[in-house]
């Protein structure tokens, strides 16, 4: 039954992808990409990857769609040149054929004897209760066993935000905004119903964000998803009330401080490991009881991740939104 469901979703995924590629209307394509991500998230969920499904839904269907839409607002909505470079399909087909060729030796889906499930994976599942003692093994690996990768991930987000700030320069905005106070900077003030309802929802979104942040050790979730959720709440506020009020609630200086602060917190937790006599990112030495130390370490770094991601998302959003006013 579940297999049938999977096959159905996968086929739908392919159809959506075809539609995205074929439509010349970029707005439609972006909307379809949101659907594509949602389908992808459902497939991930069927394949037991709850954390990944949550992230894909938040990122692919949420943040990425918002980003694409704000870029579309600043550029064009139609794809003009339709130049199918047919010979370019050659490397594509080669790559695809190679992969299909490789599948014939691949382990079957769900095969418990596959090499992937033999070497380090059982170790994680076995040792996590003893060494780190949190139920969500994904969070344990993300935060501690492979915490160094997560450190890198935070800095990737930070780099992107720095790049967007450098390219779209959030700092010149104030000079430009009074010229056209009309359309988007106003938000949805004249729409009563969405505004009332949106204001009602925002506290719940923030609450849910905090839940995901601090419940990540027990269920799906963690710093990244939480940061994205809280950022989504502020972005919703900016959409409803306009850029200005949103920036008085969370000013640009606070956003920049969040971006830097979370990342610095993460590295400092890592360095604290060295100072207290362990290795870099060794949380066991943070407290006398190694397991308690791991708990503290994961809590702190997840907080760092959440704060940085929230700050980066907001700064990227404001950078795009500020361009709108020019």
């Amino acid at each position: 039954m579940i297999v049938l469901f999977g096959v159905f979703l996968l086929t739908l995924l392919v159809i959506t992808a075809i539609a995205i590629i074929r439509t010349p209307d970029l707005f439609v394509a972006v909307m379809l990409t949101g659907i594509f991500s949602l389908l992808m998230a459902s497939i991930f969920f069927i394949l037991d990857a709850a954390d990944v499904a949550l992230t894909e839904a938040a990122v692919g269907a949420g943040i990425s769609t918002v980003l694409f839409l704000s870029a579309l607002a600043l550029t064009e909505q139609k794809e003009r040149s339709i130049r199918p470079g047919r010979w370019l399909a050659v490397p594509v087909v080669v790559a695809g054929a190679l992969i299909v060729y490789a599948t014939f030796d691949k382990p079957r889906l769900g095969d418990p004897d596959a090499p992937v499930h033999q070497h380090v994976a059982p170790w994680y599942l076995e040792k996590t209760p003893e060494l780190i003692d949190i139920p969500n093994v994904v969070t344990a690996i993300l935060g501690s066993f492979r915490g160094y990768d997560t450190l890198g991930e935070v800095f990737v987000v930070l780099t992107a935000a720095i790049g967007v700030m450098l390219l779209l320069g959030t700092r010149h905005r104030k000079a430009a905004s009074p010229v056209q106070p009309a359309s988007s900077s106003d938000g949805l003030r004249h729409h009563l119903i969405p505004r009332v309802l949106g204001r009602l929802l925002i506290p719940f979104i923030v609450l849910f964000g905090l839940y995901v942040q601090f419940h990540g050790e027990y269920g799906p979730g963690g710093g990244f998803q939480a940061g994205a959720l809280v950022a989504a709440a502020v972005i919703l506020y900016a959409l409803l009330e306009g850029e200005g009020p949103a920036l008085t609630v969370v000013p640009l200086s606070a956003i920049t401080a969040m971006m830097a602060g979370g990342a610095v917190l993460y590295v400092l937790v890592g360095l604290a490991g060295i100072v207290l006599g362990g290795n870099f990112l060794d949380y066991s030495v943070l407290q006398i009881d190694p397991v308690a130390g791991q708990h503290l370490g994961i809590l702190l770094i997840e907080l760092g991740v959440g704060v940085t991601v929230c700050g980066c998302m907001l700064s990227i959003f404001h950078a795009f939104a500020a361009r709108d006013n020019r």
Binding site: L188, H191, I193, P194, L197, L200, L201, F204
Partner: protein, 113 residues
Amino acid sequence: MAWVIDLLSWVLLSVGGIFILIGGVGVVRLPEFYTRMHAASLTDSMGTILILIGIMLQAGASLATIKLIAILVFMLLTGPTATYALANAALMSGMKPNKLALAEDSASAGKED
């Protein structure tokens, strides 16, 4: 007693599914933007409500049910609002619900997708 609840939940699930199907057909077949949106909002409200209640009956009195109730409340709040916002945006951008468009055959309206 258990089978009554089970039966009820399956009835709700099936009816919800049928509503979603009808909504889907409506989006494809109805001639013009506002009527289509009406069909789409049907899946949002009736379909999801019935299915969620059906799942709640399956889950019984547990934490999952409370979460489902929360989901239901949020769906009830956001669904109609989204439909309203969409209709409002269409109206603001100059799309008038007129009888001419309704009279046109659905083939020409189908191209707008």
